[in-house]
């Protein structure tokens, strides 16, 4: 039986072999055929020795035609004793070469640049490499010099300030990228990120920025719509470094270190200093404000040390003088100093990169290694990343090439640090005189969930220590996340005809996330949970949760594959006609699985654990009723599949007119939609006119002028909706019944479809003589249709709203990019200026807020209001402070009012003020570089204009109940007449949340955001030993960068950085680095 199998297997191998031999035979036949006529071969390079892409060679006598292969070589048949070869390539002057029988070996042809044309810029769209000159769309190729000006751990943040139309918002504490504003309300707002021709599904921070060769940003429909249903927010195409054929081995090494100042904890105004805070506490104590809490021996709510001392003095436990002495001591403290000293440090980021590449005639390789170690500004937080990348191209035959890539990333994030200390219950922050350590550095306890007085005595020492010492926590827990990511790629390209290539490419990516959150028995988290589930009966201590650590593990895995088959056609007929077209098909699968689990009684040294009872309720310590031991399991399994068909073609006539068109159809496994309905056809069309190539064009001072216009549709998608009724099973069982249960997540919606974004783009490219000034000006108009958005339903259906394709949004804008060579001698001065204007408007939105006050928004999140910017600042109208009471005066039904409840809950739209956009509609950058000999100095200045933000102010409810103070407390109205100098309302001792809500969200706190910021400065020196003797290295650069240097001018007078939300501005940083090539 076995033998039979083996024989069968052998037979198959033999068959495969014979098939292969057959192909070889065919091949040999072709070569033999080729021998029958005289063949000359040659190599074509440009003046700099670089390979010229798509150069064509024509023989005059034999009428044969060929194009260069992928390494610049060609072979062509000639006839007769002498023949003439005409060599043409876009952007170069035509060359004529005479060949005769005596010529042996390879002909070397050097093409000269056509000075009338700019050097050709090739942009990679991810599907094809197109000549920017012959394109109609809006492609922005990022200048490598600008990309390499700065140093970051990730790729995307380097694009800020050097890419026109790209807006980066950090209001939410992490960067959000927007290309040309907003195109969707409920789908992802970020651009599609493509790395080496395939969408990158993993964490983009896996990519080492040193591995990047170039980046192209696709902005309009003609550029981006080839990416179909995911391209509505623009596309960022990243291409990593590749080696070339026939290249000497070269090694480059880069190293840099960035040191960043400690964050300025005194920046935030949301802090009330100890002396004022204590005075207020004394006042409140005298008013009996804490009596309820102090008398509460049921839940033992926490009180501050000052209140505790005052209480002790009142009860006679200590004298008033003793209390006052200690309280006066407290007035000297400032918790921010303790934070700064114990929780924060200077951030230090180290980055090392090594890059080795080389190539022979048939094989080239590049190998790169990277190591990053970032010490966060929060102590005990750090990140380490190792990247390794390898790319090899192999060209076994002249018409066949093969490329294989492997990328590996290993990232380890440790997050044991504490950035902010949150006391328990409803307290928002620590009281200002809290101390984290005593003079000897011994960690001190701060108030957490129960009053210290209670936890000191309760349980008679039989409970675990119930105090919370923040500084002891940092070393007691282990919170790490390790991510491993592997991407492999294979590409096979065959030139099947002179102008036709076929390629098959595939990518497989696997990314594993392994999270460990270990709370040792020393952590407060563990001690607290064990104590809560402890009952004490005399001397019997009964712990429902066993003593030991608590371990939460999370695993997630992303596995994707993509497979693409594509035909590329490119042909030039002399210089008259030129056609470039592609057509292809693609399948893609993204599979994400994840799981979470919790283990109690875990010992990290012995790897032992204990079982617990999840099923039954247990009594909680201190008459708190009953509770279940918290379970923490969850499982996810999400699979998305896509198929796409696409085609793209452009035709250029006489380098003068270009027309282009593209079409794409995507389909996905959206639940319940029939396969033929899943697809959405997206298309684009465009035209360009390069007037400077026209015969009549005589403006010598402007040798390059091109107009282009495109129109088409991009898409946005959400794969989590369905057109049929869908129920979703909960990942955890019902808390009370322990039964699995399901919810209805979707009712039937036969009309469900993907969002579409129609865009018109009109652009002008121009270049002055000798490129003294080159630039691009573009205008666009977007119409986002069928946006998915909740629409109201009859509540009698049991659902108040459902997501339909019902909203519309429009957008328009201008992007300008100018590059000037102001001085171009030995001393050089170059300036790049970017300016963008973008405006978005929600044109249709069906959902009305039940309460008009619901429209009030600081504009941090998308808040759609028909006719308005989706990121609008909408406030209550503030009419100053009342002369007699210091109450803030609001507007209700057009009249002055202090009925804060009604203002907050029933205000009509007319009583609200639409202030403007919270995102700058005008923004841009100015990058100036001066260089002389090896020295170069540059800076990047950024401006934003025309936007608003809400500043924080005193919230009396939060101050009185949650310890959350604000400097504005000191500016509050205290006496009649103060209303002339301040907008800050008086304190009321029965704090009214509606009064606070009205004041905080009124236009009293709106400020203009406009600012000019010095993004960075850079000084560098280059050694270029090319050609000189004793080459230790070919070239080297040493540089110093200062970043986050601060705001040069701002519209607000209060020193607020409007772009960092409630967080702290990024502290200044200095980077020193070196790059060398061997």
């Amino acid at each position: 039986m076995q033998r039979h199998d083996i024989t069968k297997h052998k037979k198959q191998v033999t068959m495969n072999k014979s098939l292969l031999s057959f192909y070889f035979l065919l091949l040999i036949t072709h070569v033999l055929n080729a021998q029958s006529t005289r063949v000359v071969s040659g190599k074509i390079t440009d003046e700099k020795g670089n390979f010229v892409e798509a150069a064509s060679i024509r023989s005059v006598n034999s009428k044969t035609f060929t194009v260069v292969d992928l390494s610049g070589h060609f072979t062509i048949a000639v006839s007769g004793a002498t023949d003439t070869l005409i060599i043409q390539a876009m952007g170069y002057i035509d060359e004529r070469i005479y060949v005769n029988e005596k010529m042996n070996g390879e002909i070397k042809v050097t093409l000269r640049f056509n000075s009338k044309q700019l050097a050709e810029v090739i942009v990679n769209t991810g599907y094809q490499k197109v000549s920017k000159e012959r394109s109609t769309g809006s492609f922005e190729k990022i200048d490598p010099a600008l990309y390499n000006r700065t140093v970051t751990t990730d790729v995307l943040s380097r694009l800020e300030g050097i890419t026109s139309g790209l807006f980066v918002s950090r209001l939410k504490g992490y960067p959000e990228y927007f290309i040309r504003g907003l195109s969707t309300l409920n789908a992802s707002t970020g651009p599609l990120i493509v790395v080496d021709d395939f969408p990158y599904e993993g964490d983009i921070n896996n990519i080492n920025p040193n591995d990047v060769e170039n980046i192209v940003v696709l902005k309009d429909a003609a550029a981006a719509s080839i990416w179909g249903a995911r391209s509505g927010n623009g596309v960022i195409v990243i291409t990593t470094k590749k080696a070339r054929f026939e290249q000497l081995p070269s090694l480059s090494i880069a190293a840099n270190v960035m040191v960043q100042q400690k964050p300025d904890l005194f920046y935030s105004k949301a802090f009330l200093a100890a002396p004022q805070f204590i005075d207020l506490e004394k006042d409140l104590f005298a008013r009996g404000y804490y009596d309820n809490d102090l008398a509460n021996t049921y839940s033992w709510p926490i009180v501050s040390p000052v209140v505790d001392l005052l209480d002790k003095a009142r009860r006679g436990e200590i004298t008033q003088a003793q209390a006052d002495a200690q309280i006066n001591q407290f007035k000297q403290y400032d918790v921010r100093n303790d934070y700064s000293k114990n929780l924060y440090q200077k951030a230090v980021n180290q980055q090392y990169a090594l890059n080795l590449s080389g190539g022979s005639k048939t094989l080239n390789y590049i190998l790169s290694l990277g190591y990053d170690k970032d010490l966060s500004s929060v102590r005990e937080n750090d990140m380490q990343r190792i990247t390794a990348r390898q790319s090899t191209s192999f060209k076994p035959l002249q018409w066949l090439s093969l490329q294989a890539d492997i990328n590996y990333t290993n990232t380890k994030n440790v997050n044991n640090g504490i950035a902010t200390i949150y006391p328990g219950l409803q307290k928002g922050m620590l009281y200002p005189y809290a101390r984290l350590a005593d003079a000897n550095g011994t960690p001190l306890a701060v108030e957490k969930d129960y009053r210290l007085q209670y936890i000191d005595t309760t349980g008679g020492g039989q409970l675990l220590d119930w105090t919370y010492k923040p500084l002891s926590e940092m070393h007691a827990a282990d919170r790490t996340i390790v991510t491993q990511d592997i991407v492999t790629k294979l590409n096979l390209t065959a030139r099947v005809m002179p102008s036709l290539t076929a390629s098959l490419s595939g990518q497989f990516e696997k990314s594993n996330n392994d999270g460990k959150n270990y709370n040792s028995p020393e952590t407060y988290f563990t001690r607290d949970l064990i104590n809560r589930f402890t009952t004490i009966d005399g001397n019997t201590v009964n712990r429902t949760i066993p003593y030991g650590g608590i371990l939460d593990r999370s695993f997630s895995e992303l596995a994707t594959y993509s497979l693409r088959g594509q035909l590329n056609y490119a042909k030039n007929w002399r210089t008259k006609h030129s056609v470039a077209a592609i057509a292809g098909a693609e399948v893609r699968q993204v599979h994400v699985t994840s799981q979470l689990n919790r283990t109690y009684g875990y010992n990290d040294n012995l790897l032992t654990y204990s079982s617990v009872d999840w099923v039954n309720e247990y009594p909680l310590y201190g008459n708190f009723g009953y509770g279940y031991i918290p379970d923490y399991s969850d499982f996810q399994d999400v699979m998305n599949r896509f198929t796409s068909l696409y085609a793209n073609a452009s035709y250029t006539y006489q380098n003068l007119y270009t027309v282009s068109a593209s079409a794409r159809k995507d389909a996905a496994n959206i639940f319940g939609v029939d396969a033929n309905q899943k697809g959405v056809p997206l298309w684009s069309a465009g035209a360009a006119y390069k007037i400077s190539n026209a015969g009549f064009y005589k403006a010598d001072w402007l040798p390059m002028l091109k107009f282009r216009m495109t129109y088409g549709y991009n898409g946005n998608m959400r794969t989590d909706l369905a057109s049929v009724p869908v129920i979703s099973f909960s990942g955890y069982p019902n808390r009370y019944t322990h039964l699995p249960f399901a919810s209805i997540t979707n009712l039937a919606n036969k009309e469900l479809r993907w969002e579409r974004v129609g865009m018109v783009n009109i652009g002008v490219d121009f270049g002055l003589k000798a490129d003294r000034l080159t630039g691009t000006v573009e205008y666009y108009h977007k119409d986002a249709k069928d946006l998915l958005s909740p629409a109201p339903l009859d509540p009698t259906l049991g659902l108040n709203n459902m997501i339909y394709n019902v909203a519309n949004m429009s957008g328009k804008g201008i992007d300008i990019k100018l590059t000037a060579k102001i001085i171009d001698k030995a001393f050089q001065w170059n300036v790049t200026a970017l300016y963008s204007y973008v405006s978005n408007k929600v044109t249709k939105y069906l959902l009305d807020y039940p309460v008009k006050g619901g429209y009030v928004t600081p504009g941090t999140n998308i808040a759609p209001i028909e006719g308005k910017d989706p990121y609008s600042v909408v406030t209550y109208r503030f009419r100053g402070l009342d002369h007699n009471t210091g109450n803030p005066l609001g507007t209700l039904n057009g009249k002055e009012s202090t009925d804060y409840y009604s203002i907050v809950n029933t205000t009509s739209w007319d009583d609200l003020r639409f202030v403007g956009s919270a995102r700058a509609p005008h923004f841009g950058n100015l990058i100036s570089t001066v260089s002389w000999k090896g020295w170069a100095f540059s800076f990047n200045v950024n401006f934003k204009a025309g936007y608003y933000f809400m500043k924080s102010s005193i919230n009396y409810s939060a101050l009185l109940n949650n310890w959350t103070g604000h400097e504005d407390y000191n500016k509050r109205w205290q006496n009649p007449g103060d209303e002339l100098r301040t907008n800050v309302p008086s304190i009321v001792y029965a704090a009214d949340p509606n009064r606070d809500a009205f004041y905080l969200q009124s236009d009293a706190n709106v400020l203009r955001g406009d600012l000019i910021r010095l993004q960075d400065l850079r000084l560098s020196y280059d050694w270029n030993r090319k050609g000189s003797q004793g080459p230790v290295f070919k070239s080297a650069q040493l540089y110093v960068i200062g970043s986050n240097l601060g705001i040069l001018w701002r519209a607000n007078k209060e020193g607020i950085d409007p772009d960092c939300g409630d967080g702290m501005p990024n502290p200044r940083a200095i980077t020193i680095g070196i790059k060398t090539n061997f």
Binding site: M497, G625, G627, D637, M639, I727, Y736, T796, N800, N905
Partner: protein, 460 residues
């Protein structure tokens, strides 16, 4: 000749590419049929239907419109002044008081779940193996639909009276999950007919008892039928159903075993609970903001354990309710499900109304002997029918305080001159009254619902 001249290899490659492309596209259809998320299901099995009914909000979030307006509690001026205007208006029975959309839609959401479960069950062929599950799930879905329709009628239709039921507007009856189905309000009689129809069918299908009691059982169905007939003031039938219910489950907690000091003295799913359902806390009825009506507190004897177990003393001398059978940490979540204590009182009331006084007294004694400190309870004696009925209704008041059943009781007892009550509230020196049989016992349907459907609005 160059390699390009003969093209057979390339032709083959193109052919191959074309063929593979074709295969790719043909297989697309099945390729895209894979489920995007394993947790998502187009409901089709008994398990799916059961999972919908086991969603805990089928047992939770019942609107607190009745309890907001009842006389179990009152608000201090300071607390009243902090309440949002809509709650203030409902608390003081203003005729222009409005309710939130979700006070309407939560019950219809449960009806939607029940309908979807029902439609799913009906797709599954019944056989000897799945018969028990099949019947239980269908019976449960019908129970939930009727139960939610009943609560909707309790708030949004006028109190049931045989003489006007055929002409008064009822509440819309959604019997399918079809989004496009257009409904009318129908008559009150149609609403109650539908409730009874669903319940009679459900009674044939449900198992005798279940665990956990978040699922309906035959005992629960009998108990609920007793409630429905009480609401319809058909006390003969109500008594029969209460009796049937107690035949299946009659356990009582002995309050001597309950920790009176605990913040939440009762566990949920305790042995008195026949069917668990709970309301969503309202800011007004939230404990300890809501103060227990002093007249009620005064009704309890000193030996009555409920006095300590049910109420906590506030620092200002007032009391707040803490005796919810919804248990757990959430002592402000009111229990409004069906429990044996309610059934004993209901059966007693029906006995009394039928002049079976001995039996009535026996039920009361059974219950109360479990409510007093051991050895202190003095059994009640039979007196006149009227006196026994009055005593039973007083005991009902004491036992079922905070249960969310008071509103329905007020609505039905207002038909009897002997038991009518005018509710009075005093806030900020102003007095508000709700006389018996007032139109304000029925809430206005949310205006969005009226607007979208063109229905007749309730008069208030």
């Amino acid at each position: 000749m160059t390699v390009y001249k003969s093209r057979s290899v390339k032709v083959q490659i193109i052919l191959l590419a074309a063929i593979s492309l074709n295969i790719l596209m043909v297989s697309c259809k099945t390729y895209l049929d894979v489920k995007p998320d394993k947790k998502l299901v187009q409901p089709s099995t008994l398990q799916d239907a059961q999972a919908l009914l086991d969603n805990f909000f089928m047992n939770a979030n019942y609107p607190m419109l009745g309890p907001e307006g009842d006389d179990d509690y009152y608000l201090l001026d300071a607390d009243f002044n902090r309440m949002p205007a809509p709650i203030q208006k409902r608390y003081t029975w203003q005729s222009d008081a409005v309710v939130n959309d979700y006070d309407w839609s939560t019950m219809y959401q449960n009806i939607l779940y029940a309908n979807m479960a029902l439609e799913t069950v009906l797709q599954v062929p019944i056989n000897s193996e799945n018969r028990n599950d099949w019947e239980r799930i269908q019976g449960s879905a019908l129970f939930f639909r009727a139960y939610n329709l009943y609560w909707t009628a309790m708030y949004f239709a006028v109190p049931y009276d045989e003489s006007i039921a055929a002409t008064s507007p009822g509440v819309p009856m959604r019997l399918t999950s079809d989004v496009n189905e257009k409904l009318a309000r129908g008559t009150l009689k149609q609403t109650f007919d539908q409730i009874l129809k669903d319940m009679q069918q459900s009674l044939l299908l449900l198992p005798l008892t279940v665990d956990p009691v978040s699922r309906p059982s035959k005992a629960a169905a009998y108990g609920f039928m007793a409630r429905v007939y009480t609401t319809m003031r058909n006390y003969a039938k109500a008594g029969d159903y209460a009796d049937s219910c107690l035949q299946l489950k009659s356990d009582l907690l002995n309050y001597n075993d309950v920790n009176a000091l605990a913040a939440t003295p009762f566990k949920n799913f305790n042995k008195e609970v026949i069917f668990h359902s709970e309301g969503s806390p309202s800011r007004a009825t939230y404990s300890p903001t809501a103060k227990t009506d002093t007249a009620i507190y005064a009704l309890y004897d000193s030996n009555d354990l409920r006095k300590k177990i049910f109420f906590s003393l506030n620092s200002n001398g007032t009391h707040s309710f803490k005796g919810s059978y919804a248990g757990s940490n959430y002592y402000d979540i009111p229990f409004n499900g069906i429990a044996t204590d309610e059934m004993y009182l209901l059966r007693a009331e029906c006995f009394a109304r039928n002049n079976e006084l001995e039996k009535a007294i026996a039920d009361v004694n059974t219950l109360l002997s479990n409510r007093y400190a051991t050895g202190t309870y003095v059994p009640k004696d039979a007196a006149s029918q009227q006196a026994v009925l009055k005593m039973i209704l007083t005991e009902r008041r004491k036992e079922l305080v905070g249960r969310g059943l008071r509103w329905a009781d007020l609505r039905r007892l207002n038909f009897e001159p002997n038991f009518q009550k005018t509710l009075v509230r005093k806030e900020n020196g102003q007095t508000f009254q709700l006389p018996p049989n007032d139109a304000r016992y029925t809430f206005a349907i949310p205006s969005a619902v009226i607007k979208q459907n063109g229905w007749e609005q309730n008069e208030r």
